[in-house]
């Protein structure tokens, strides 16, 4: 099954549109200039690559611009361009949407956060904060462009855009998507600008990827989206030739350090090899590497080592370049922009140069393209590496040049463990049914949690509270499943997808407030990496040694369900073997009194907090290591809008079944099949408390009830405004052991 790229849209510092961006990249133009978006006293540098003329008002509904962001605007423009080129529209056919990013509406909300932190009484539901959650970009693209069917927002820091495309490929190979528009978007903001400055990662002059004198990156901004379709669907609607094909992808985590890459590039090389293996190509088939090439001292030498390790003798031939010398580092958009550039490199037969590279660093011995080079480009590898060591590599190829890969057989997904940390402490795989038992409501606010009881605090010192809660939940889930990821034979098979609805809102607030009160030079380098939405799961991967796919998702009050469904999607098509999935939510006045009410609606019940990790595994993988699953996951789904008809293919309940939910009763518009409407319905919120991650507690409770033989099947349903998820867990039992625990 070939995956066709049929449309590209780009908004970049070099202009609006994929074509103009590529023209100017090939012409060698550099987009760096004096920052105009904001000014902060004592800024050491004012250089940036801004996308000119972008404002939220351009795409927001009349009079509602305060609730939209520049990131939204760039995304909407890029998505529209990609759809027009592909000749598809979400109103006419089911199209799915995946948005990678790190900051969403941070630029529009960071000042307000700092202001509100000085006066807690002023914290109230403010429409201007609607654009703060990571998921707001995808929601706004859907509102502006059309009724996308399945929607995801994900973050793996600077590989977010690439991982959006990887998830799209997984959906297409699984046969669950026939058209996906996927990419990434990130607008410049004070937080990332001062944060990278605090890390001494910014070159005050235009950057020099792979150069001996390179002194750091420059920040840019932009958005890019690609329309991906399976060949047969595309042909059926009359398309005869794609722009290029997405043929390979690989993803993995370094489990090394939150900001510094592995020096020798071991994981980057592993991920690049995995992308080639997926494509069934060898280094001899690749004509160009579009490098991550940030121009930081550590990235470029690491990446050069990884490219050399992956390509062997072919490294003398394969031209390498980085567009970051022209458009800067566009963070969550970078992987998608570079994917779009890779596709155009193939289509045009011309490789863009690395601008700023004058004297190649002896530590980066590669065949650098220092000027635009015409070539017959059969295939391009595009690399993206993020904070926390989240590495992704994509391979694009010219249409029809290489043999069509087989679609993988769909694999069964089982649940081998689950853990939560919440008002009842740390509960393991067979204990979470406690949240279904009668008992007192939790105390409002933060849960009691002593990190030293669960973690080696010396090793966990970099982990903030969200990182620690995440690590504790995943650690317990792994232990209950007999998995030690530090065992080198298993670590690369274990990944994690853990989200938070609003990210590190209190951390971002404190960071911004410090800048305003003390000055830019006192921005905290150690705190900055904890503000990216993938930080908790990234930290947990480092602490626990998880080296499989690691990223965050966000989807308001159904973030945990979103993570588990996404993990199941990946395992089913062979993109992961063991994935811990769930969410982490922290008690915060900003969430309780502003973000929660404005984004999720008023909470009915006591607000609490906690983290969950549901451990999914490919059935064949569990069998191979002799593990008996606690439950099966035979069916899952997700929806946008009211959810009409989403249960039409749901299996019927078994004898002892229940519908479990996190926060509250089902919305009036959502109709369960009659057989499921008749079984008992139970919510965990009365014991677990109300928060955006309550669905993870419902899933953990479902697993425990099944593991203890109290239930044969549980349908876990989660919903938030305009969206929902449902997952069916069933007992994994031989006929002769019916129900005793």
């Amino acid at each position: 099954m070939r995956i066709w790229v049929t449309g590209i849209g780009v908004v970049s510092p070099l202009g609006r549109g994929a074509g103009v961006t590529m023209d100017r990249l090939l012409a060698g133009d550099r987009a760096f200039g004096e920052l105009s978006l904001f000014h902060l006293p004592d800024m050491r540098t004012r250089l940036a690559a801004e996308a000119p003329g972008i404002s939220a008002a351009e795409v927001a509904p009349e009079g509602d611009a305060e609730a939209w962001s520049r990131t939204d605007a760039m995304s909407v423009l890029a998505v529209r361009e990609a759809l027009v080129q592909a000749g598809v529209a979400p109103a006419a056919a089911p199209i799915d949407l995946i948005v990678g990013g790190t900051t969403a509406g941070m630029y529009e909300t960071e000042d307000l956060l700092a202001e509100l932190s000085r006066d807690a009484d002023a914290i109230k539901p403010l429409r201007a904060m609607l654009t703060h959650p990571l998921s707001s970009t995808a929601d706004h693209v859907r509102a502006a462009v059309g009724p996308f069917r399945r929607v995801r927002s994900l973050c793996s820091a600077c590989s977010s855009g690439a991982n959006a495309l990887l998830l799209a490929a997984a959906w297409i190979r699984a046969g669950v998507s026939h058209c996906v528009v996927a990419g990434g978007a990130d607008g410049l903001c004070r937080l990332t600008y001062t944060g990278f400055g605090a890390l001494s990662a910014v070159d005050p002059n235009p950057c020099r990827p792979f150069d001996k004198r390179r002194a750091g990156l420059n920040l840019g901004e932009g958005a890019a989206f690609l329309v991906l379709e399976p060949e047969d669907t595309s042909r059926a609607r009359g398309v005869t030739r794609p722009i290029a094909e997405l043929v390979g992808w690989g993803v993995g985590a370094e489990a090394h350090h939150i900001t510094n890459p592995e020096r020798e590039g071991r994981t980057a090389a592993r991920v690049m090899r995995a992308a080639l293996a997926k494509a069934r190509l060898s280094p001899a088939d690749i004509d160009h590497v579009n490098a991550h090439g940030t121009a930081t001292p550590l990235n470029d030498s690491m990446e050069a080592a990884a490219i050399r390790a992956c390509f062997g003798p072919e490294v003398e031939r394969v031209l390498v370049s980085s567009v970051k010398g022209q458009i800067g580092h566009t963070l969550g958009a970078a992987g998608a922009i570079e994917a779009a550039v890779s596709v155009m490199t193939i289509a045009r037969g011309e490789i863009p140069p690395t601008q700023g590279l004058e004297e190649v660093d002896p530590a980066c011995p590669l065949a650098h393209a220092t000027r635009a080079t015409k070539a017959d480009v059969r295939a391009v590898m595009s690399n993206s590496f993020g904070f926390g060591g989240t590495d992704t590599s994509l391979v694009f190829a010219a249409p029809g040049v290489f043999p069509a890969p087989e679609a993988p057989p769909r694999r069964a997904v089982v649940v081998v463990s689950a853990a939560t940390i919440g008002p009842l402490g740390v509960l393991g795989a067979r204990e979470n049914d406690a949240y279904l038992k009668p008992g007192p409501a939790p105390a409002p606010g933060p849960i009691a949690f002593q990190a030293a009881d669960h973690l080696d605090v010396g090793r966990a010192r970099r982990l903030d509270r969200a990182g620690r809660l995440s690590a504790v939940a995943i650690q317990r889930a792994l232990r209950d499943a007999g998995l030690d990821p530090l065992d080198p034979s298993i670590g690369a098979d274990v990944g994690a997808i853990l989200g938070a609805a609003f990210g590190s809102v209190d951390g971002s607030t404190a960071f911004m407030r410090r800048i305003y009160e003390k000055g830019v030079k006192f921005a905290s380098p150690a705190d900055f990496p904890n503000l990216v939405p993938s930080s908790p799961v990234g930290h947990a991967s480092i602490y626990l040694g998880l080296r499989g796919p690691v990223f965050a998702v966000a989807d308001l009050g159904v973030t945990a369900e979103c993570a588990v469904v996404t993990a199941a999607d990946l395992i089913a098509v062979g993109e992961g073997e063991v994935l811990a999935a769930g969410s982490v939510e922290e008690a915060s006045p900003m969430i309780e009194r502003c973000l929660g009410p404005i984004c999720s609606g008023e909470a009915r019940g006591v607000r609490s907090e906690g983290a969950s990790a549901i451990l999914l595994e490919a059935e064949e993988h569990a069998k191979a290591r002799g593990i008996r699953p606690l439950a099966r996951l035979p069916w899952w789904t997700s929806w946008r809008g009211a959810g009409a008809g989403v249960f039409k293919d749901a299996p019927a309940p078994s004898q002892r079944s229940a519908v479990l939910t996190g926060q509250e009763d089902l919305p009036p518009g959502l109709h369960l099949p009659e057989a499921w409407a008749r079984v008992p319905h139970r919510a965990v919120a009365p014991r677990a408390g109300v928060h955006e991650g309550a669905g993870g507690f419902a899933l953990a409770a479902a697993l425990a009830a099944i593991a203890r033989g109290e239930l044969d099947a549980a349908l876990v349903v989660g919903h938030a405004p305009e969206r929902g998820y449902a997952l069916l867990l069933t007992a994994e039992r031989s006929p002769d052991d019916s129900g005793s625990s």
Partner: protein
């Protein structure tokens, strides 16, 4: 400034700013190397940035970047000497 006082304040600063949980200022050896895996405190480059920022905030003394920083960050003693010298010169 009294060097002993600076060393004490510096160690307190390190414990809080670098989240050296489970460590007391008195656990930090004044002469032991601060950086490098498996040696002394085992701090890394991200700690160096945080420490430089907080030293400037607390003592009003800038720690230079690059090779010069290497010797200044060698130990609590070296860093305290740098602070005392810079204060005396100011």
């Amino acid at each position: 400034m009294d060097p002993a006082d600076v060393r004490q304040k510096l160690k307190e600063l390190m414990v809080t700013e670098l989240n050296l949980e489970g460590k007391a200022p008195s656990d930090i050896d004044d002469a032991a190397p601060l950086f490098g895996e498996g040696r002394g405190l085992g701090l890394d480059s991200l700690d160096a940035l945080q420490l430089a920022m907080s030293v400037e905030e607390k003592f009003g003394v800038r720690v230079p970047e690059g090779d010069e920083a290497r010797s200044i960050f060698a130990s609590v003693n070296a860093l305290a000497d740098h602070i005392v010298r810079a204060k005396a010169a100011a």
